[in-house]
Structures are given as structure tokens and as C-alpha cells.
Symmetry: C2
Amino acid sequence: MQFTVTILGAGSATPTLGRHPSAQLISYENENFLIDCGEGTQMRLLEYKIRPSRLKAIFISHLHGDHYFGLIALLSSLNLGGRTDDLHLFGPRGLDEILLLQFKYSQTPLHFAIHFTAVDTTQHTQVFDHPCFTVHTIPLQHRVPCAGYLFREKLHKRKLIKEKISDQMSYECLKKLKNAEHIYDESGAILYNFEEYTLPAPAPRSYAYCSDTRYYEQLAEYIKGVDLLYHEATFMEDLAQQAYERYHATAKDAARIARKAEVGRLLLGHFSSRYKEFSGFLQEAQSIFVATAIAEEGKTFAVQSTST
Amino acid sequence: MQFTVTILGAGSATPTLGRHPSAQLISYENENFLIDCGEGTQMRLLEYKIRPSRLKAIFISHLHGDHYFGLIALLSSLNLGGRTDDLHLFGPRGLDEILLLQFKYSQTPLHFAIHFTAVDTTQHTQVFDHPCFTVHTIPLQHRVPCAGYLFREKLHKRKLIKEKISDQMSYECLKKLKNAEHIYDESGAILYNFEEYTLPAPAPRSYAYCSDTRYYEQLAEYIKGVDLLYHEATFMEDLAQQAYERYHATAKDAARIARKAEVGRLLLGHFSSRYKEFSGFLQEAQSIFVATAIAEEGKTFAVQSTST
């Protein structure tokens, strides 16, 4: 099952030539999900040849413009493009009001339904239930209500060992084996031991997106053991004080959280426009947490199980 | 006096790779004015090395997204960039409500004043009075309230002929000559004939911007004799019926208006995404009005007097 994160934008509030505000595309099999949608996100999708028609849901972390100003434009284009499929939208209270007001003045009749859920940014709660994964909010500490999102794959079924399966075994029987149930004969003895006929399910994978937040320890509990963590790193260590005052994090803050939460890998992004390149971020973070990478725009990262 | 129009975007509603939604920069001497502000306009300004700090006023034609979705992002960036100078904003009723709602949810304290004027899109009225020019609305026929904008330079003073000016002539005297007044001696005879000491003022120049409109004859009256006319040409002639039904114009419609209004030059823009190149537009328009050009993105057009 494909489970990837494509970075559409990893800049912060001040626009910089060639860098774009926050947006990420989660691809799970043939479905796409968007997290945050800064100005110009629809142009990034075009540029990266990603068809927005496959979008199933959009998750907005907070109502600072660099995280959602591109949303109304994307929705308008989906509508203009003839979309009729429902779309699920998650974000802080007020997002729906902002969208509806703009649709009102443009006199746009929507041809598809938008199911909006106002998320409680103070809670770590499940907001989305997909057949293959769940999405939980992650409370973040920012200047305005702000939530990260945690994508956690559901436990897969065990895998049948084809060579051992015979025609005599019924569909019901195979289903039970995949669900880690033994099959018993009439006397109550084990007929088929599921461990003999199936292989363990691959470990469920998980991805956490922490858009804008000040360093706070409890965050590590919400994202404990995730395989891939995206964490903002607006500043480097020399501006640690400024980061804290502005409810942002440094590269080291992100690495501290990654280490404390024992995540598999860490991605850094949301870089302040003052920085021209990011090797310093990597260096600072790797001094605390080695498995760190830069969330380069246009790059796709696989969410891979790192559990042993 | 520099008076130019730089095309920041000449696309229409559906996004196309490499093409941008409507936005134009009017430069008058050292001041800048923006007409329409589609998504990504602030990135165009960066790209073309135009400092947004010099922006004095913004004119929005209507509340379809491809004409204003970039405005909130631009204003947010100006604020973040430390702007304290007042800004004048013109647009249909509702634009202020949309902006204020977004500033409310982002908890953004603005460090500069925005003076908003809700324009009456059904009237041809002066909305802006600059020392060197005026701006009038141009009623357009679109699906939502929509106004074009007419920039009309004020009459300059006459130009002194340096070689003829002597030290004996007072400041007051020179001022009168520039204002086309003779100077009389005590007996009432002409001492200095203004026509002898000054050259005629250059003819005032004018620019009309007609963003989105169906063809309608009366439009020509509002823009009679302008030096440069930008007129939308969303479609070519084969889709004339569609153009009319959707309250848009064809290249030929634009040319007909240009001819009827006896303008100096015509610029075509707002091309539908279905067209890959624009030579056909030019051909169709030039069959009716020769002095036609394509509003190429990134190109700057001088507003030059074409009066004889």
C-alpha cells in the first residue's frame, strides 16, 4: 500500500521567490489528502502533475494565511472543473464562515458537497475514519487555535501463505486465519493454526504533521513512536528566544520532540524567509536526532514502518 | 512622467501552468497602483522585482476569485513587512467583509490603515482623485457586480521655454504663464504672451481596464478616446455564443468596442485556459481594429498619448 507525503510548500508567512507556503499531499493508494493549503497550492498540484480530482479530504491546521489562503481558490477550481464527489474538510471553527462568505459574493453554486468538521484544536481526538487509517488532531501551541494531524494506519490483516492454502479451505476459514483465529475441528482440536497458514500483518505506519507550534513537552506523548514526523522549524538556535515568543520552534526543538517521542524519522519545514539554505537546520537537528531530513519542496517521502 | 501598465496575470478562472489570474500594475512616476489581484499576485511582484511598499491604492473589479483571491495574502504580507502607510482600496461591496473576517480569525492587528471604498459598479463615477490623475469606475456587464477602471491624467501645466526666461520674471509671473495666462503691463498691454514663453502641455493620457464583460455598446461611451484599452477576450469567435451566455467577450467583441470608442491601442487578455497560444486572438481582433496587442504576462506597456 502506497503511503507517501509530497511536500508542496515548506516556507513560512513571508513570501520568498521559489519557496511556497505550507501544503502537503498525502497519497494513500489511489487516494489523495491535503494538509494545509497555502496560496498557490493548486499551481503546485498542476506543476507536480497531481490530479486534484482524487482529493478525498483536506485538513487545515490553523487560520494563519500561509496555511489556508490557497483553499478557496482550489475549491473554486474543483467546482469549475466539474467535481461532483463529496469532499471532507477539517479545520478550526471559522474556516467554513470564510469560505461561505466568498462563495456568496462570487454567487458560486457548488456542484459538490463539502462536509466541514470544525476540529477542537485543544484535544487529541479522532476526526476522520478511513477504511485503512484514522486521523487524529494533535493539539499545538500557537498564537491562534492550531492543530496538527496524525495519520495512523489501521492494523492490516495477516497475509495468507499461498502455497499452504488448499481448495478445501472455505472463504470463511481463510477470513478467520487472516484475522489471527485458529480453525478447530469437531473435537475442539486445532485444525489449522493461523500462525502456520499466515504471515504477520505488516506493522501499521503513521505520519504526524505539526505545522506551527512552540516547543512543549506533552506534544511528544501525542505522537509517540510515529514512523514519520513533520515538525516546523521556523528558526535556528540563535533565534530560540524569538521562536518561543512567536510560538514557533527551532530545528533543535523539533529534534528534541522527535527524540522524546522516539519517532522513526523527522522532517523539518516552515523555514523563515531569512534563511537562504537549510544545511544549518539539518546540522543543528542532527546533533540531537540523527534521522532528520529537510522537507524539500517537490520531494516525496514514503511513510515506512520503523518498528522492530 | 512615467505612466505604464505591467501585466502580472492575464489568465482566466481555470488555473493553467505558467499563466496567472488577472492582475495589473499601474506605475505613475514613483507610485504603484494595482488593478485586480488574483491568486499569487504577490509572487509575481517578487518575480518582477516590484516593491509592493510603493503601492498606493488597489482597485478590484469584482468578486470572482481569479480577480481578488491574492488580495488577502498581499495585504497580510504588507503588514508582516512592516507597512505603516495608508492604503486605498476600491472594490464591490463585500470585499471589506471578506478581508475583515479573515483578519479576525488570524488575529492580525493591522499596522496600516486600509481606506475601503465600496464602488457602485452600475455607475461611471470618479472614485479616486490623485494630484496627477483621476480614476473612474466603468460599469461592466458580468454575472456579478463588476466595474472596470478608467485612469485619466489631469491636464499638465504648459512647459516653460528655458531660453526665453529671464531673471527679471517673478515666480508668480512664470506660474501664470504655465497656466496659460498672459502677463500685462500697467497700461493693460500684453507684456509676456504665454504662447511665446511656453510650449503646450503634453496631452493627458488615459488607460481603461475592462476586466470581465459581455459585449455591450454603451461601454464605448465610457471609454471614448482612451489612449490604451485593456479589454477581456476570454474566447475566440467560434465560441461567441458561449462568451455571451457566460457574460464574457470574444477578441472581436473587444475590437468592436475599441473601434467604436476610437481608442488608441487595444490590449487583449483574460484568455480561457483552453487556448494554448494567442495568435488567433490577435488575428481576429486585428481584422476589426489593427492597433491590438496581447497582454503578455511580464510585459510593460507605456500609456502614450495617441491624440493628434
